[in-house]
Each structure stands twice: as C-alpha cells, then as structure tokens.
C-alpha cells in the first residue's frame, strides 16, 4: 500500500532541488507533529464554562465551535491553545485573568448548539465551574490576622459561598482572626475571589471540584448526621447512666459578711 517511487532524473538540478524539498518537508512535518504536544505554558487551572458536562462527557459533545465564546459578554471564555491545559479548541477560562461574571441569563449556555453546556442549567447559582479553595494559609492576609476580606466581599454569593469564621488570634492574644471559609455546596467556581485576591499570587484559587474537595470513604457514617436523619437515637433502649458530677466542695472555714475568713488575723 505504501511505498516510494524512484525518481528517474536523479542527476538533474530540478531533481536535486525536488529531492531536497521533499526531505525538508518530511523533516518539517515530523518537527511540527512532535512540537504541538510539547507545548506547555499554563500554570493556572483552565476552568470550563458554566453548565459544562463532566470532563468525559464534555468531549463527546463539544465540537469546539466557540459559539459560547462569541456570546460571552465579558470575554471571559477563550478557546484553548496547545498547552492551556484543555484540549485544543475547547472553551475555558482562567479565573485570575477574567473570572465568570455569572450572567443571569447564562448566554454561553444558551448559545451552545450541542448540549456540551447543559441547557438544564437555568439558575447560574447552580453552576459548578469548580470550587474555590483557600490554599495560602500562610499568606492570606486574613489568616495573618488582618482584615482584608476582599474575597469574601466580592463573592456573588457572599455569606453563602464564602463566610468569615471567627477564631481567636493566639499571636496577639486579644484579637480575632476572620478565616474566609468556602462552602462547597454553594460555591459556583466563578473565580471572582481568585481574581480579586490582593496578593501577588492568589491565596484563594478555584480548582476542579474533584481536586478541591476531599471525599469521605463510602463506609463512613457520621453519628450525629445519622441521628438527625432518624430523628432519634440510633440504638433503642440505651441505658443512660446518671452523670457523676464532682462532689460539692467540703464545708470550709466560716466566712464573714465582708468576704473574709473568720479565723484570719492579719
């Protein structure tokens, strides 16, 4: 099926030229084919648009037409180049560059002709583009005891997706630390927190949810949750023994009305 045909006029200048061109073409072809997968430039995580199907299903549906990119009013979405971390031509965004503005009518999803972005997503608060994680426990200004709060303030779902949890500041002994805390059941992964983080390298980053959130072993049962589900104790007729309290203090020396002790003689 495959073979080469010998050139008859091997001596002619034209033949020599043609041979050179062919060799150069072959070498160039090979160079190009190996160069593409060698591209690497992204350090950031390339996030999918809202409503994107799971990774495996997404590539069965997305034809890389870019209609979502065209209809994104904030130029958030881009089509991936080699090395961006997603297959070439598929839509993505880097939160630190331009985060998702969470448009109410979700034009990217409306524009998608294939269903790679699920039309079932009609409430942008239900989008799950990723999950924000406070990765910089040693650099986050709030962790250091300052009141930056920027990630919390810019969160479109403030007080739901990010809350500030108050802890005691052991360093000063008298102040509070307000820890920005992401609630994974509410976070859409829009990336506004990552974009807004004032550090040179964001201390809060949006990661793919399966990387961002730990997962309990399937066999784990949390007693208090199970109890809540049942509405009662899990074991019937458990004997509740009376709690033994510390003995009341023994009767000490008699007190005077001013608080002093009767026997005390200065």
């Amino acid at each position: 099926m495959v073979g080469t045909r010998d050139d008859k006029d091997t001596v002619s200048r034209r033949g020599f030229l043609a041979g050179g061109v062919r060799a150069a073409c072959g070498a160039g072809l090979l160079a190009l084919l190996v160069a593409v997968p060698a591209h690497r430039r992204a350090g950031a995580v390339a996030l999918r648009p809202p409503g994107a199907l799971d990774d495996a299903d997404f590539l069965a549906a997305c034809v890389r037409c870019g209609l979502c990119v065209r209809d994104c009013p904030y130029d958030t979405l881009k089509l991936a180049e080699a090395g961006d971390g997603q297959p070439v031509g598929t839509p993505y965004f880097f939160a630190r560059d331009i985060p998702c503005e969470m448009c109410e009518h979700i034009p990217c999803v409306v524009a998608c002709p294939t269903g790679a972005l699920d039309k079932g997503l009609t409430d942008i608060a239900e989008a799950r583009m990723g999950t924000a994680v406070l990765v910089g426990h040693e650099t986050c200004l709030n962790y250091l005891g300052l009141r930056c709060d920027v990630c919390y303030r810019v969160c479109p779902l403030i007080d739901h997706a990010i809350t500030l949890e108050r802890l005691h500041n052991e360093r000063t002994g008298k102040h509070a630390i307000f820890i920005p805390t992401v609630h994974t059941d509410k976070c859409t992964g829009c990336g506004k927190c990552e974009k807004a983080c004032v550090l040179d390298e964001a201390a809060i980053k949006v990661l793919p949810t399966q990387l961002a959130v730990g997962e309990l072993g399937k066999h784990y049962r949390l007693g208090w949750r199970e109890k809540e589900k049942e509405g009662k104790g899990l074991i019937e007729g458990i004997i509740d023994l009376p709690d033994r309290m510390p003995d009341p203090p023994a009767v000490g020396p008699e007190r005077l009305p001013n608080g002093g002790f009767k026997e005390f003689k200065p």
Partner: protein
C-alpha cells in the same frame, strides 16, 4: 522559465480562452472560499455579525444553524445526542450536499483546500514527482477508525487533530497567528502534500472529505464529459484534477457504453477540468443525463489518458 505542459496544465486553455476563461471555476471557488470565511470574519473584524462559530457548528444571522454531520455522528457514537438546533443544522447540511455533491464542500468551502492547492501548484512547478504512494481508500479506513475511535474513547475523537476545523478556527478566532496548534497542523498538511505525497491530504487521508463524499454518493450536481467526443487527449484535465481517477470512466467510457457523467463520490466538483479543457469537453450537469447518447458525436476511445488513469 518555460515549463512543460505537465507543470502548467492551463497553458493551452489560456491560449485558447484567455486567462480568465481558463481560471473561471478556480476564481469562483476562491471567491466562495473567501466569501464563506468572510461571513465568519465580519463579526470579529468589523463588529457586524453574520455567522458565528466555525465550520464545526455555526449560527447565521441568529436563525440558521449549520452543523458538520461527521461531528454529530461522532458525538452519537461517543454517547451524546446533540441539542435540536445542532441536529437541524446537520439535516440542512446533509440535504444541501446530498444535492450539490458531497465533496463540493472540499472544493468550495474547506479552507484546507487553499493550502493543499498551493502545495499541489508548487509541487508541479518544482517538478516534485509523486513521492509516497498511498491508497486512496485509506481515507475510508481512516473514517472508519475515527468512528470506531469515537466509540472507544467516548469523545469526538477527530477533533483532536482535524486540520479543517483547526485551520478554520485559527482563522476565525485568531489562533492561527499565535504560533499555536492551528498553524502547526496547517503547515504539516502543506508539507505533507508538497514533499511527501501528491494530493496526499485531501485526496487520500482526510476523513471529513471521505464522509462528505459518502453524503453526496447520489448527488444531483455532477461534472459531465458531455463533449467527450471532442477530446484530443491533451491530458490537461488529468494533470490538474486532484482526484484524477474519477475522470477516465466518464471521459473514456463511450466504448463500454458508460455515460458521460462523472459519478465517482471522490469528485470534488471543483471544475478545474472545465477550466483547462480547450475543447469544452466538460460542464456541470445533472447525474440523470447520463446515457451514452447524452454525449453526442462519434469517435473517442481509449488513449494514453486511459492508461495513466488506470495506473493511478
């Protein structure tokens, strides 16, 4: 430089019909290719949106969806049924090419055609001989592999390498000009056609073209050698044709009682044979005007063209 006729198949036609006459369909094709590209580019360049998307899937004037049927088929095999708008787009595209000729897409729409035509032209002028000879049916095997690959990978697998959509996307979204994959793939196709195999990509490998060929298997619009009795065996049509195996049965079929219409699914309806023929042997016609009597006149028969066509 005086080039032999094999390198300038249009030379005789230029002498007979003038340069414009000898390049009529070529110019129409280039205009069509540019025009289709312009529909996508007025938006990003001028802010006037006519067509959004790429050749993979597009939306024109907000109402007309068009979808590459091979893409939708791969999606189904990968386990995803597209939204209604994409499927409507598939139906429109399939209907259009089932009438106009499947590979009319290759000649009039596909941007890779310009790249491979350039490689073919350069190849003729540099005097590069055939090179690697590849079976033309390989594209069908590649197509079968793509479809099977979609099943096994659960992804629209051809899109990882498809030069057609990569180049088009690169042009429409600008990725071609950032030294990325679009440029690499395009130059790879060019080098393959120039230095490795003649008409290598479009004529032997591209599964998109192969698929459109199957879509247009029974298409209405065909090139017909209705004037075949005037043929003087100058060979220019064979030299210029990117799928030259399609010509001989129609052009040389009189003695075997074969009609004058080029019925092969491989024909791209590019019309270059019409351009370069000084005897007006070829014209566009319908597949149904295909009885031998639709090519009036006497004479003809097997010539050197026949032998070479069989050899390819």
């Amino acid at each position: 430089m005086t080039a032999p006729t094999t390198r300038s198949p249009a030379r005789a036609a230029i002498a007979a019909k003038g340069w414009l006459g000898a390049h009529k369909w070529l110019l129409i094709r280039r205009a069509a290719q540019l025009g289709f590209l312009a529909l996508f580019l007025t938006g990003p360049l001028l802010g006037v949106w006519i067509t959004k998307g790429t050749l993979a899937a597009s939306l024109t004037l907000g109402v007309l969806p068009l979808t590459d049927p091979l893409m939708a088929l791969q999606a189904v095999l990968a386990g995803h049924v597209m939204e209604v708008s994409a499927l409507v787009g598939v139906a429109i595209v399939v209907a259009a090419y089932a009438v106009l000729g499947g590979r009319t897409y290759c000649a009039f729409v596909c941007p890779v055609n310009v790249v491979t035509d350039l490689a073919g032209w350069l190849r003729r002028h540099l005097g590069i001989k055939e090179g690697l000879s590849v079976d033309r049916r390989l594209r069908l095997w590649l197509l079968a592999g793509v479809l099977l690959g979609s099943v096994t990978s659960g992804a629209i697998v051809w899109e990882f390498v498809n030069p057609v959509t990569m180049l088009h996307r690169g042009l429409v979204y600008g990725g071609l000009f950032t030294w990325g994959a679009a440029l690499a793939v395009t130059v790879a196709v060019f080098l393959f056609d120039l230095g490795v195999a003649k008409h290598g990509w479009c004529g032997h490998l591209c599964p998109v073209g192969a698929f459109y060929g199957l879509v247009g298997e029974k298409s209405l619009v065909r090139v017909t050698a209705s004037g075949r009795d005037a043929c003087d065996n100058c060979m220019d049509c064979f030299t210029v044709c990117p799928e030259r195996q399609v010509i001989a049965p129609a052009l040389r079929g009189k003695d075997k009682g074969v009609g004058p219409v080029i019925l092969s699914r491989d024909c791209t309806n590019c019309g270059r044979c019409i351009d370069v023929c000084t005897k007006d042997v070829f014209r566009f016609g319908s597949r149904f005007r295909n009885s031998p009597s639709d090519a009036p006149g006497v004479g003809g028969g097997a010539g050197p063209a026949d032998i070479i066509a069989r050899a390819s």
